[in-house]
C-alpha cells in the first residue's frame, strides 16, 4: 500500500489500518480453527489411516496384521474388481451422456420458449427427493407383476420387461432412475449458464443471417463450456460413486449385474469385514477419479471460455 504522497488524514487512516492488520494472524487462525479441526479429524487423518489400513489384513476382531502390498497385488488380479469397474463405467457413460444430452436440449428449450419459474420448479422436484425415495417409487412402478409401467407396456403391445430383475437391463434401468432425479438439476445449471451469454451475440448472428440451429452450435455451446465442464466433472465423479439406488433396489444383483465399485467396497467392509482389502479398493477408486478428472480438465481446458 503506497500512501506517502497522500494528504495527512489518509496517512493517519492507513497507519491505523496497518496496525490493525499486525494483530491479524491470531484472529485468522481462530476463525479457521473449527473448520480446520473438522478437516483434520474427518478428512486428513482418515485419508492417511485408510491408506495405512490398506497395507494390512484386519477383520476388526483380531489386531491388524501388516501384509505390505499384498492387498494391491490381490486387487490387480481380482477379476471381480475389474468386472465391477466395468459395470460402474458403463453406468457412468449411460448416465452422464444421456443426462447431459437431454439437459442441454431442455435448457435450450426453456430458454427459448419459457422463462417461467414454474417450469423450472417442476423440473427440479425429483431432485428434492432422496435417492432412497426415488428408488422406491421406481421399484414399485417397474415391478414385473404389478408395476404400472409394465401394464402400460402391455397395453401398447410391447410386453412385460423385467427391468431391475434382468441382468441385461438392470444397469440401464438404474441409470434411467437417476437421470429422472438429476435431469432438472443439470438442466437448471446449464440454463443459468445460457442466461449469462450476451443477447447481443445472438442479435449480431441474426443480422449476419445465421439460423437458430447454427447459432446454437457456434455461440451457445462454445460459450457454455465452463458450465458444461462443471456439470460433466461433478456428474462423472458422482456417478462413479453410485450406491443408494442399488442398495435399495438390486443390492448388486441380479447375477451381480449391478455390483458397482462402491457396492463392492461396501460388501468387503461391512459384510465380510475385510477392512484391509476394502480400503485398498477405496484407494483404487480415489486414484481412478483423480486420473479421470485430470484428463477431463486437460481435454476441456476447463477455465477458459471461447471469448
Amino acid at each position: 500500500m503506497v500512501v506517502t504522497a497522500k494528504p495527512a488524514p489518509n496517512v493517519q487512516r492507513s497507519s491505523r489500518l496497518r496496525a490493525w492488520k499486525r494483530s491479524d494472524t491470531w484472529a485468522a487462525w481462530l476463525f479457521i480453527a473449527p473448520s480446520l479441526l473438522g478437516l483434520i479429524i474427518f478428512y486428513v487423518v482418515p485419508f492417511g489411516r485408510g491408506l495405512l489400513i490398506s497395507f494390512s489384513d484386519w477383520n476388526l476382531l483380531t489386531p491388524a496384521e501388516p501384509v505390505g502390498l499384498a492387498n494391491y497385488s490381490k486387487l490387480l488380479a481380482d477379476a471381480t474388481f475389474w468386472r465391477s469397474l466395468w459395470i460402474t463405467l458403463s453406468y457412468v457413460v449411460i448416465n452422464v451422456t444421456v443426462q447431459i444430452g437431454l439437459s442441454i436440449g431442455l435448457a435450450a428449450f426453456i430458454a427459448r420458449f419459457t422463462q417461467s419459474v414454474w417450469v423450472r420448479g417442476l423440473l427440479i422436484l425429483p431432485y428434492l427427493l432422496s435417492n432412497v425415495v426415488v428408488a422406491l417409487l421406481w421399484l414399485w412402478m417397474l415391478d414385473p407383476l404389478l408395476g404400472v409401467i409394465n401394464e402400460a407396456l402391455m397395453a401398447i403391445g410391447i410386453g412385460r420387461q423385467a427391468f431391475l430383475g434382468s441382468p441385461q437391463q438392470a444397469i440401464a434401468t438404474i441409470a434411467a432412475i437417476n437421470i429422472w432425479r438429476h435431469l432438472g438439476y443439470s438442466t437448471l445449471l446449464i440454463f443459468a449458464g445460457m442466461q449469462v451469454i450476451s443477447k447481443e451475440l445472438y442479435e449480431a448472428g441474426a443480422i449476419d443471417g445465421a439460423g437458430e440451429w447454427h447459432m446454437f452450435w457456434k455461440i451457445t455451446l462454445p460459450l457454455l463450456r465452463p458450465v458444461l465442464v462443471f456439470v460433466l466433472v461433478t456428474g462423472i465423479i458422482g456417478s462413479f460413486q453410485i450406491f443408494d439406488t442399488i442398495a435399495v433396489t438390486t443390492q448388486g444383483g441380479p447375477a451381480n449385474a449391478t455390483r458397482v465399485i462402491v457396492w463392492y467396497i461396501y460388501e468387503y467392509a461391512f459384510v465380510r469385514f475385510e477392512m484391509g482389502y476394502a480400503t485398498t479398493l477405496a484407494m483404487a477408486l480415489f486414484l481412478i477419479l483423480l486420473v479421470v478428472t485430470a484428463i477431463q480438465m486437460r481435454l476441456l481446458r476447463a477455465g477458459e471460455s471461447d471469448l
Binding site: L17, I32, L39, G50, T114, V117, L136, W138, I265, F286
Partner: protein, 279 residues
Amino acid sequence: MILLLALIMLFPFWWALRTALSEPRSIFRDTTSLLPAEFTLNNFARVVGLVDSAQAVAMGGSGTSINFLLAMRNSLIVAVLSVTGQIFFSALAAYAFARIVFPGREKLFALFIAALMIPGIVTLIPNFLLIRELGWMNTFPGIVAPKLLMAPFAVFFFRQTFLSINRDIEDAAKIDGANHLRIFLRVILPMSVAAVTTLAILSFIGEWNDYLWPFLVGRNEDVRVLTVALGVFRSQTPQGAPDWGGLMAGAIVAMIPTLLLFLIAGRKAVDAIQFSGIK
C-alpha cells in the same frame, strides 16, 4: 412438450400417493386405475405409528412397525444441526481466507480444496472406525460429527462470495474500531444473506437425503433417520409381496419436509440450485 415433461416429472409422485391411499389388498387386484384402489388412510396411520402391529397385519401390512414420525424428528435433528454448524463454521473460515492476510493462507486453503477431491467412500471406512472407537455408534453426535464443523464446498463457496463484496464498508468499520468478529457478524454475514440461503437450501437437501453414513452409524430406532427407516422397512417386507401401500406412505412422509421447504423458499430455491454451478 411442457405437458409431456410435466407428466414424466409428476406421474411418479401421483402414483406414490395413489398407492399410499389404496387398500393394500386391492393394489394387487387393480394395478392400473389412476385413482386409489379402495380409498383408505390406513397406510398412513400405520407408518406414523397410530396402530399396533396386530392391527397393521389386519390392515394388510407386513406387521413390521416403523414409526416414521420418530424418524422424521431424527432427520430434522440431524439435518438442522449439520446445516447450521457447517454453514457457520465454514463461513467463519471463509472470511479469514477472503479477508485476512496471514502466513500460510494459500497453502491452508489448498488443503481445503484438496479435501473436495476425496471421494466419500475413502474417508467413510476410517470415519466409521473412529465413531465406533469413540463409542458414538447410534448416537446423534456420531451421525452429525463429520458434517458439523465444515464442508469443503461451503468454505470454497463462501470465500468466492466474500471476495466479491466491496471492501470500503469494512474499511470504514475498521476505522471505527470494529474487530474481525464484529465485521464478520455485522457487515459480511448480513450482506451475504442470499449466499447463505443458497447454501442452506442445498446442504439441507443433501443432509436430508443422505443414506449410507446414517445407515452405518445410526441404525437404532431412537436415532434412525427417514432414509434409513425406509431402507429397513423395504428390506423387512417379504420378497414375494412387498408392502407397497406402507412403503409409499412412508415415502410420501419422507418427501414432505423438502417439498415444504421448496414451497416456502419458492423462487429462491430454484435460483439457489440454478446458481450453485456458476460460482
